[in-house]
Amino acid sequence: MNRTVINILQRVLVNHFYKVNAGFFLFFFFVLFGVVNGSQLISYHFSLIQGMIQSYVFLACVIFAWLLYTLKCINYITKQLSEPGQQFLFVLNTAPRSKRLIWMLFVHMMVYMPVFLYAVIVAVIAAKQHYFGSMTAVIISNGFMILLSTGLYMRYLQKRVTGINFTLSAFQFSKPFFSIPLWFLWKERKQMLLVTKTFSLLLLYGFINLYEPDSPDIRPLLLIMMLIATAHCAIILQLRSFEEERLLFTKNLPVPLLKRFAWLLLMYALLLLPELVFMWKGFPLHFQLKDLPQVWLLVISILAFFHSILLMKDMDSEHYFRIAFIICATLFFILLYDPGIFLPLLLLLIAYALYRSHLYDFEKKIGLSSE
C-alpha cells in the first residue's frame, strides 16, 4: 500500500509540479548556474554561501526567498488537492495519522528538494566554519517551513481548511477592464507575482546600488530591464491561460482590435509599474529623462511580444519558454549596440502584427494546409 500511495502521490502531485514550473526552474537554474563561467561555479557559490553565513541580513533575505518558495509549494499542493480530478486522494484519510504524515512529508520534501539540498549545503559549511548561529537559523527556519507545510497538507486533506486564502478584502475598488488579468494574479497567483516582483526589484536594486558607470550609458539599464521583462514570462503564460478560460466571453463583445491591443499594453504597463517607479532610484546616474520613453517602451513591448507569441497555434509552454529564452539572448546582443527607440517600436509592431493575425483567426493556417 505504502509504495502504491507514494507512486500515486509522486505522479499526480510531484511530477506535475515540476512540469508546470519547468520555466520557473529553467530561469532560476540560468540565474544561479548559467551566469558564471563553469570553472568558477563552485567558488562563486562558495562565496555566496560565505556571504549568507557571515551576514545575518543576507541570510534573512535568503530565508525570505525560501519562504516564498515554500508558499509557492503550499499554494500548488493545496490547489491540486482541491481539484475535482484529485478528489480521490481524500481516501488517504482512512489510513492512520502517522502514515498520512509520512506521505504528506514525502510530497513536500519532493517539491521542496531544490531549496532543501541548497540549505543542507549552507548548514554544513556554516557548521564547518563554526558559524553556529547561521547554521541554527538555517536548520530551524527550514524545519519550521517543512513542518508547517506538511501540517497544512494534513489539515487540507482532512478538509479542516477550505484553502490557503490570502485575500485582502480592503482592496475593493473599481477595476478598469484591462486590469482584470492583474486582479487574477493578485487573487489567484499571489506567490508567483510575489516571487517575480521580489526577484525583479532585487535585481534592479542590486544594479542601481552596485554598478557605477564611468560615463552616461543607457545600455546596462536596458539590459537589466530586458532581463526583468523576461522574468515575467511565466506570469504571461498564466495570464494567457486565464484569458482563454475565463475571459473567452469577451471575444463576443464588439471591441475594436486596436482597443484590445491598447488594453493589453496598459495592462502590462500597470504590471511593470513597481519596476518603472523603482527605476527612478537610478536617476540621473543610470539614465537621463530623454531615455525614459525608450526604457518604458522596451519592457512593455517585450511583454506584449511574449503575449502575442502565446496566441500562436500549438504554442505550448515548452516551446514558449524556449522562444522567450532565444528572444532574450537575441535582444541582449542587439541592446549592446544601443538601437535606440527603434527596437521597442519594432517589437511593438511585430507584437501587434502577431496579435492581429492570431487573436481571432489562427485557424486560417489549417485551412490552407488542408486545401
Binding site: K175, L253, P254, Y360, I366
Partner: protein, 220 residues
Amino acid sequence: MDQFALLRSMLQFDTVQKHYGNFLALDIPSLTVADGVYWLKGENGSGKTSFLKMIGGLHPFTGDISLSGASIKKNRVSFLQKVNYAEAEPLYPSFLSGKYLVKLYCQTKKTDEKQSLELLEQLHIADAYTKPLGTYSSGMLKKLSLVLAFTGNPKWILLDEPLITIDTSAVPVISSLINSSRSQKGISFIITSHQPFQDNTLQLTGTMTAANQTISLLYE
C-alpha cells in the same frame, strides 16, 4: 410593409469550415438563415456549440459568416453589435460581480442597465447583483449569462442549452422573453436544447440539424 422589415437580417455562411487539429468538425459550403426562431438539434459532439461559437466570434474558422452583408471577419465590431451569445456552461472570473459584467456588457453594447436589471429581477438573481461570481451557483451563473445575452440591441441571440441548471420556475420566463423579443423587437434566435420548452411555447420558424459534420435547415 412589415413593421420589422428594416430590422430583418439574414445570416449567411460561405464555405465555412471548423477544424479541431486535423479533424473537420463542421463543413457548411453555403447556408442562408432568414430571421426567425430556430431550434438547433443534434447529438452530443455533432457541432452545435461550435456552430454557435463561430457565429458568436468565440471560435476561429475558415470561410466567412455575414449578417446583412456585414462580414464577421471584415466588420467584426459591427457584426458583434448585432449578435449576442450565451454559453452552455458560462465561465467568468470568480472575483468579479454580476454588476461588473452587466456594466461591461452595457458599455460595449452601448445601452443602459435598466433592461438588464429588470431581467435580473424576473429571474430572481437581483439580490446577488453586487456579490462576487464565485459565490453564485451554476444556475445563477447560467441566468446571468442569459441576461447578458439579452443586453443591448442584438439582431440575433444565440442560446446554447439555455434551460440546463436553471430552476423550473425560470423556464416560462425565458420562453416568454424569447417570444416577446421576437414579436416586439424582431430579434432572431438560434437555440440548442436537449430539453423541449414547456407546452411548445416557442413559436419556431424552423429547425436546424447538426449531423454528418454539417448544418441543415428545415423551415416549419
